[in-house]
């Protein structure tokens, strides 16, 4: 199997070979074949009587030591993966909420409220009074409400209950999957999946759905507060891929997830004193900040910071020999970075107390003196510049234009140019007429198990040709950005006639002088909440529930437990959700059946597992067709 179809990644991998450095692809080869019990979810290490495993081929023992059968083992494993995903998004969101509170109390002066409108909109939605109050008072109340959502309450999670359709609330109540706390849902999942608690696989899965809905709320909190503190994104033009590194600048890559670090670093990187110091160190172009992974998306949308690469190819940025510092916070940061950085001059800088890597330099980031910390980090990067080995610099001259930053607010404001009274109407009219056949949200990662980007590109060509409107978040958006799919040119080249007409009409009304890009970049992985908001707005406008909409989701190259959590809440939200890699559940026919079929009866949404991207696209198109038929629309 080819490792990637991204020429920049491949070029960096050649550098790796030359340098004798092993990358994620080499390590995957060394790990293959992987354990079949693990791949099918049939091993359990939840107690000290284990580990236990069950053969997927119906030979050998049918239960573990405690009596747990394949269905129990698989559902417990899945539930714990979702809990871990929710814990990650929860950690991210809680970090933001604490900072918003500090900001409101004047304890974090580097975090002013940048988007008062968003703050007021969120406050109004969650029942915090706005009229006649100081901004900081409102912000403190919003932050407290967000923090309350983490502990166990008597009432449903505010950020879940106030952001979905009435129909979803009813469904969740009926099935008993309404979360009342983010952290408590995670704790409950851990409790019910430990030795000798929940042994009903369907009940375990419903518990996991509850936890996934807590994950959704966490994502939504993270998005809302990021917008409040740093501004709600609106479209910007930038570039993506390794070619955005600049040989004549101090290159700093920001990698990880939370804009609390990256946004401040970007603000500080523009300061004259630091740029002068970079120039004095020999970098004639000063400081060049680039993004990696989801934090890359955050600063791409808000500050036009170019995206260097996505998660699976994170090592490639160091392999260019021109990266002076990689600054990381948490999530998706491979421990291998330290070893690779050591082979080059690159400084790997960790910043979070919960995410240290031996051999990296740890410069702890404190919100109360955020800018000061950011300056220290940049100074460390400048210090590394002089240690570059010019002979080992290989920056592939490859990058694509990318238009990013289509928040729901930005989409509505573009649409309002077509109909200022009723901005959603043009979108809905075009869905009804079939110009837009349906909507597909691409989310998730890149994985070594799939040729990097191959599934994304194969699927988007097929879907766009069939007039499916494409939204993207996380490293899915990174894939499209690096390959030039976030451009009007891509619309021209790949969109079917109906979709092209709509994207062109909106683009021209918005004064872009051309069409909208083929892919609407909605942000980082927590920003899947934006896509949910858009779907909810469309559903409410049409007066139907989410499970009736011609809207689907796809994670064709998923990796993380966070992706499993997001996929699960997408299913609970009523979306048919495609996975391009096989999750570790096939060891249980029951669990597989529940996820791919029974879920449809319960939630309307369900998982579609298909590793062939063309078949997956075909299936999604036919699913959209079914939904259109259900709404009485043309097929």
């Amino acid at each position: 199997m080819e490792r990637s179809i991204d020429k920049a990644t491949l070029s960096a991998l050649e550098s790796a070979e030359k340098a004798g450095v092993s990358t994620v692809w080499d390590r995957y080869a060394a790990q293959s074949p992987q354990c079949g019990f693990g791949e099918t979810g049939l091993c359990c290490r939840h107690c000290l009587q284990g580990p236990c495993r069950i053969s997927p081929f119906e030979d050998g023992p049918r239960t573990g030591v405690c009596g747990a059968n394949a269905d129990i083992m698989v559902s417990r494993g899945l539930s714990r993966a979702i809990a871990a995903g929710a814990a990650s998004h929860g950690g991210h969101a809680k970090h933001m909420a604490h900072t918003l509170l500090k900001a409101a109390k004047g304890e974090a002066p580097d975090y002013p409220i940048r988007d008062e409108n968003k703050l007021k909109a969120v406050a109004a939605r969650i029942g915090v009074s706005v009229d006649g109050r100081e901004i900081n008072e409102i912000a403190a109340d919003v932050a407290m409400k967000a923090l309350e959502d983490f502990s166990e309450k008597e009432t449903p999670l505010t950020w879940a209950a106030t952001t979905v359709t009435k129909g979803r609330v009813d469904t969740f109540l009926k099935l008993g999957v309404v979360p009342t706390g983010i952290d408590s849902s995670i704790a409950e999942s851990m409790h019910r999946t430990t030795y000798g608690v929940d042994s009903d696989p369907v009940n375990i899965i419903l518990g996991a759905v509850k936890c996934a809905l807590a994950d959704y709320a966490a994502c939504h909190i993270a998005t809302d507060i990021a917008d409040i503190l740093f501004g709600t994104p609106s479209p910007v033009a930038t570039r993506a891929n390794l070619g955005v590194l600049n040989k004549n600048a101090v290159n700093i890559a920001l990698h990880g997830h939370n804009p609390l670090l990256s946004d401040i670093l970007v603000q500080v990187a523009g300061e004259k004193a630091l740029n002068d110091s970079a120039k004095a160190a020999g970098a004639s172009d000063g400081i060049n900040v680039v993004g990696v992974c989801c934090t890359g998306n955050e600063i791409m949308m808000r500050h036009k910071i170019p995206l260097a690469t996505s998660s699976v190819s994170q090592e490639a940025v160091i392999l260019t020999g021109a990266l002076d510092a990689m600054v990381v916070d948490y999530q998706c940061i491979m421990p291998s970075l330290a070893g690779i950085a050591e082979c080059f001059h690159t400084k790997l800088i960790t910043t979070m107390p919960i995410a240290k890597i031996p051999k990296a330099e740890h410069i702890e980031f404190h919100e109360p003196e955020a800018k000061e910390c950011a300056r220290k980090i940049i100074e460390a990067a400048i210090g590394a510049f002089g240690k570059r080995d010019p002979g080992r610099i290989n920056i592939p001259d490859i990058s694509s234009t990318a238009f990013a930053g289509f928040s729901v607010e930005a989409i509505l404001s573009a649409l309002s140019l077509l109909d200022s009274e009723d901005p959603l109407k043009p979108l809905i009219d075009n869905i009804v007429s079939g110009n837009i056949y349906g909507v597909c949200l691409f989310a998730g990662c890149n994985t070594v198990k799939v040729t990097q980007d191959a599934n994304y590109l194969a699927m988007i060509r097929e879907l766009a040709r069939n007039n499916v409107l494409i939204l993207a978040t996380g490293c899915a958006s990174g894939a499209f950005a690096r390959h030039g799919f976030m451009t009007p040119e891509a619309t021209e080249k790949y969109a079917g006639p109906g979709l092209k007409a709509v994207l062109t009409a909106i683009g021209q009304a918005a004064g872009l002088g051309g069409s909208l890009p083929l892919v609407l970049h909605m942000g980082s992985c927590v920003d899947n909440s934006r896509a949910a908001d858009l779907a909810v707005a469309i559903a409410d406008k049409l007066g139907v529930d989410l499970d009736k909409l011609p809207v689907v989701a796809s994670a064709p190259e998923a990796v993380t437990e966070k992706a499993v959590a997001i996929g699960t809440w997408a299913v609970a939200a009523g979306l048919p959700t495609h996975l391009g890699v096989v999750p570790p559940v096939l060891g249980s026919k029951l669990v597989t059946e529940v996820l791919t079929s029974t879920a449809k009866d319960l939630f309307g949404g369900y998982f579609i597992v298909e590793t062939d991207p063309l078949k997956a696209a075909e299936t999604l198109i036919s699913v959209i067709g079914e939904r259109r038929k259900g709404l009485g629309l043309s097929v």
């Binding site: 354990c35 081929f57 096939l586």
Partner: protein
């Protein structure tokens, strides 16, 4: 001649060899479709363990093979590479081979009512059990080389002795 050998000291009892074997003998030769296959594919080697030692037990493709000698229907034969294989259509399910195999590695396909045994993954360069072993407890090596390595280690460490 190359043979599959087991190094029990390296076996962790993970049964990956059993999975690899069953997948290789499934319809699509892919774990995920193999799991869905009904009836499920059958493995040809078996992890056995005592308190002191664990190791997979598998067909030795004996040079003077009792199963081959005992097969009355002409099902078992020795192929050009020395592997003892089946002509499936000739098996009458008399289980004589099962009775005489000193290793107990010939089993019964309850659906097709025929004997099932290791075919040495004759279509592969490397047998599935060997390539799925994560610790190198299963190896495909020339018999002479295997002996030589053992002698070498004996001299080197002075600790390894044949009983």
């Amino acid at each position: 001649m190359k043979q599959i050998f087991v190094k029990p000291e390296k076996c962790m009892g993970c049964r990956s060899c059993e999975i690899g074997c069953a997948v290789q003998h499934s319809k699509d030769k892919n774990l995920f479709s193999a799991v869905m296959q009904s009836p499920p594919p059958m493995k040809r080697l078996f992890l056995e363990a005592t308190e002191e030692i664990m190791m997979p037990v598998l067909c030795r493709h004996c040079e003077d093979a009792p199963c081959l000698n005992a097969c009355i229907s002409g099902c078992l034969y020795r192929d050009e590479n020395g592997l003892v294989r089946r002509r499936k259509e000739r098996c009458i399910g008399c289980w004589t081979c099962v009775m005489v195999c000193p290793f107990g590695v010939i089993t019964r396909d309850g659906e097709k009512h025929i004997a099932v045994k290791c075919d040495g993954c004759h279509k592969l360069d490397m047998p599935a059990c060997v390539s799925s072993c994560p610790t190198g407890a299963l190896v495909l090596v020339d018999i002479d080389e295997f002996q030589q390595e053992k002698r070498h280690r004996l001299v080197l460490t002075g600790t390894e002795r044949e009983e």
